[in-house]
Amino acid sequence: MKRINTEILVIGGGATGTGIAWDAALRGFAVALVERRDLTHGTTGRYHGLLHSGGRYVVKDPQSAVECIQENRTLRHTHAHCIEETGGLFVVTPEDEGDFPDLFVQGCAETGVPCNEISVAAALRREPLLNPRISRVFEVPDGSADSFLATHATAQAARQAGARILTYHAVTGLLVTGGDGDKRVVGARVMDAVSGEEIHIHAAMVINATGAWAGRITGMVGIPISVIPGKGTMVAMNHRLVNTVINRCKMPADGDIIVPVHTVAVIGTTDERVADPENLRIEPWEVQLMLDEGEKLVPGISRARVVRAWAGVRPLYQEDYTGDSRDATRKFALLDHQRGHGVAGLITITGGKWTTFRLMAEKTVDLAVDYLGERQPCRTASTQVPGAEQGHYWLGHRLHEIEEEHLQGELICECELVTRTMIENAAKRNPTVTLDDIRRDVRLGMGPCQGGFCTYRAVGILHELARQAEGAGPTEEETKEGTERDAAWEVAYLQSPRHNLSADERPARDEAGLQPNLLLRDFLQERWKGVTPILWGRQLKQERLDELIYLNLMNADHLPQTGEKSPLTDFYLYDATPNEQTEAPA
C-alpha cells in the first residue's frame, strides 16, 4: 500500500476543491487533491454556464449578489480565457409581476451590481429573437463561462505552485485518531479507481469539498450534516439563438435563464429535491417546462433543435432545513467540524455557486490557517491562471484559427472544430481514462451529431497512442516523484487549434491501458444518455444516422470484450426508473 504525506488534503475536484488546492499551494502549503473521477465530473461540469453578475440575487439574497459581482470582476481577470463577455439582460415579460422590477433596480443599487435600463427597441436590436412583448429591460454584466476549462486551468496553476492532483482517486474512508471528545481526522483512505490500489494519504487538515456528496464524507466519521441535493435540468439548443444572457426579471424560478455558451444556448433550470446525487433521471415534464418557459423569453425557441439535456445537483446546505429546495440559501456553508462537532482536522465547504468558487476557497483556506498557522497571504484574486493571457473567449476563435492555420483537413470533431493534435495533446497532457475526459478538454462530440462522426475517429487516435505506449514505462524521474496518471498537466491551451499545431513530443505512456472497444462503447453510451430525454424531430434523425453508423455499419453492439468495464461504464447507462422523491408539479 502506498502512503503519501501532505499538509492539506482536499477531497473533490470540482471548482471549489480545485480552487482550494490552488489557493493553499500559493500560500505555501503542501497540498494533495483527490477526485474520484475526472475534474469537474460533479456539479461543476453539469452547470448552466453563467458567470453571475449578481443580478439574480439582488432581491432575494443580497449577500450573494455582493459576492457575485465582486467575484465576477475578479474572475474576468484571473480566468479571462474561460469567460465570454456576453453581457446579460433582465427582461420583464407580460407574465411578470408588478413591483419586482422596481425592487430589482433598488436591489442592484444597494448591492453594487451595475444595472442600466435600456429601451425595448434597443434590446430587440441587440437580440432580435427576444419576445417583443417585454415591457422593460435592464442590462447587467453577466457573462458565460467554461467550467471545464476554468477548473483544469486552476488545477494547472495549483500544480505549478506545487500541489498534487490525483484524479480517479476516490476517498473510501477517513483516517481517524482518538475517540469520543478528541477525535481527529488525520488523512484518508483512497482508492485508485483505475488500478484498484489503495493509498493512505496523511494530512494535517482534510478539506471536504465534495459538494452534494459532502454528507457522505462527514458520515464516514459520524457527523450528520444535511446537504439537500437539488436536481437542476437544462436543455441545450443546437445553435446560439441569443448572444446575451437572458434572464426573467422576477423572483428566481424554473427555466428563467437562457445562457449562450460556446456554440449552444442553454435553457435552465429546474430544481427538484432528490435522494441520490448520482443517478439523475430527466423527467419529460422537466424538458417540457424548460421549453415552455424558454418560449416566454424567445418565442419559437421550442421549435428549434434541441441537442441534449443534462442535470446537475445543487449542494444546498441548510441546518435543519426541510422546505422546498429553491428557497434554500445560495450562500455557501463553511463548516468547522472541530467547533461544530468536536472532530478536529476536518473542514467542509459546500453550497455556493461556480461564480464564487474562488472566494469560497479563500475563506476555506483562511479557516485552515487558523489551525495550521499563518503562511503567505492569499494571492488568488490577483494571480492569473495559465492561459488567461489569451484574453476573453470569443465564439469564432476556433473557426478563425482553423482557417488561418489551414487545419480544415485535420478535423476529427467537425461540429466543434477539434483537430487531431488537440486530441493527442489532450490525451497526453492530463489524465485520460475515457473519451468523456477528452470531451471536457476540447469539446469533442458536443455538437449536433453528438459523437456520430468523431467517436470512431478519436478512438482510432487513442488506439494508436496506446500502442505507442505499450512497454514504455514511466521515466526515472517520474518514478522518483511517484506521480501516477497526473502526466504533464498542460491544459491551458487545449481549446486552441493554433496552440496545438504539432503533437506533444513527449512519448505516449499513460495511454497504454486504454482499450479501444471500451472507449468507443463508453462514449457512445455517454452521449446517448444525454440525447435520450430529447429524442424527437431533428435530433432523432441525427441519432438514426448515428445508429446506422455504429450499430449497422460497425456492429458496435457485438465488439469483442463486451464484458469489460471502465470506472464509468455503469455511470453512463441511462437509468429509466424515476428518481425517488421527485414529483411532477400539480
Partner: protein, 426 residues
Amino acid sequence: MHTTSWHSVGPSLDECIKCNICTSYCPVSAVTDLFPGPKYSGPQAQRFRESGQPDTPDQAVDYCSGCRVCNEVCPTGVKIAELNARARAQIAKEKGIPLRNRLLGRNELMGRIGHYAPRLANFGLHNAVSRFLAEKVMGIARQAPLPYWSTDGSFGAWFKRTQKERLHARQKVVYFHGCATMYYEPFIGKAAVAVLEHNGYEVIVPPQNCCGLPMLSNGEFAAAEGYHQRNVNSMAGLARGGYPIVGTSTSCTLTLKEEAPELLDMHSPDVTALKMGVWDIFEWLRELHEEGKLRTDFRPINLKLPYHAPCQYRAHRVGKPALEIMALIPELEIPESHARCCGIAGTYGYKTEKYQIGMDVGEELFQFVREQGDDVTMTACDSETCRWQLEHGTDLPSRHPIEVLAAAYGLYDLETRELTSQSNSM
C-alpha cells in the same frame, strides 16, 4: 446580422445531420483546397459566426460559387448556398466591398453604358491592353469570357420598334428578359417572343431592372433590395392579375422566385405575389404542352446538340423542362450532361483569383462535350454566363434552348441568330 435564426434561411442549419453528402458533391471543393466545402462553410461554420465578434471568423466562404449543387443533394433541406451567401454579405459589411465586386454586381449598369456605343465599348473592353489592365487593377480575369454588347440595339429598343408587328391577343404572357438579353443577347428575347407569339400569346414587356442576383452573390444586400422592390412594384400587379411571368434567364427567374425574398427577408404580399407568378419559360411551355396547347409543328433539326442544364436551373426544382420540350423536336439528338457545374457561377469565374477554379470545375462539362465526338458543332444551355463559359471552354458556339425551339418552328436561324422572314410576317 445578429443571430442565425433571425433570418429566413438560418433555422435550416438545424436540419443538418452532418452526413457529408453535400461535401462529396460540391464542384468547387473538389478542385481547390481554398474552399473547405458546403458542410464546413455552411451549417457548421454558421454556429461560430453569430454575435458581434472581435474579428471576422472565416473568409473562405467567399470561395463558394453559389452554384447550389449542395442544396440539390442535401437530404434534409439545409439551405447551404443561402447560408453561405449570408455569410458573404456579413463579410462584405465588415470588410467592405471591393470595386471589382461592385462592378460585377452591376452588370445592368455596365450593359446600359456600353450599349450606347457598343462597337466602341466592345473594342474598349475586348482588347488585350484593357483586359490586362482590368486584371491588374480590378481583378477581373484576363481570359474570362466577358460578353459583347449587341451591335444592333437593345432588346427593349427592338421590342418597341416592332410594336406594330407584334401579336395582339386575348391570351397574354409577361416576359422578364434580364440584363443579358437586354444589352448583350437581344436575339434570345426575340426568339422567346417569336415562340410565345407562335403559340398565340401576346407578349407584355413591363418596365424592369436587374433582378439583383449579381449583387446578392457579391454580398451587396442593401442594393439588391432596392432592385428587387422596383421589380416587385412593376410586376406584382400583373402577377395578381393572373398573367404568367416567364423568363429566359434561369438565374433571374430563380432570384425572383426564391433567392431575393429569402436572402433579403422580403415577405410582403406583393413580393409573394410576384414570387408565385414567375416561371422559367420552359417550365411554363411544358405546362402548356401538358395541357395539349403547345404547338408541335416542328421541323426536323438534324443536329447532335449536347445540353447542359445549368445548376441555377436545377435549383428551381422543376426537373429539366427545356430538355423535355427539345426532345419533341424530330431528329434532334440531345446528349445530356450530368456535369455539376460549368464553373462560371454568375460572376464567380470572372474574378482573377477564381478564374482557374471555375475552369477546373467546368472541365467535367467540357470533357463531356468533347467526348460527344467531332460531329458536334454546337451546344445548348439555358443560362447566359454558363453558355459563355461553355463556349470559352469548348470553342464551340452555344445556344439557349429557346433559340432551338424557335428554329424548330422555322422562326429563327440557329447559325446567324436572327429571326427568319417567316417570323417577321407573323
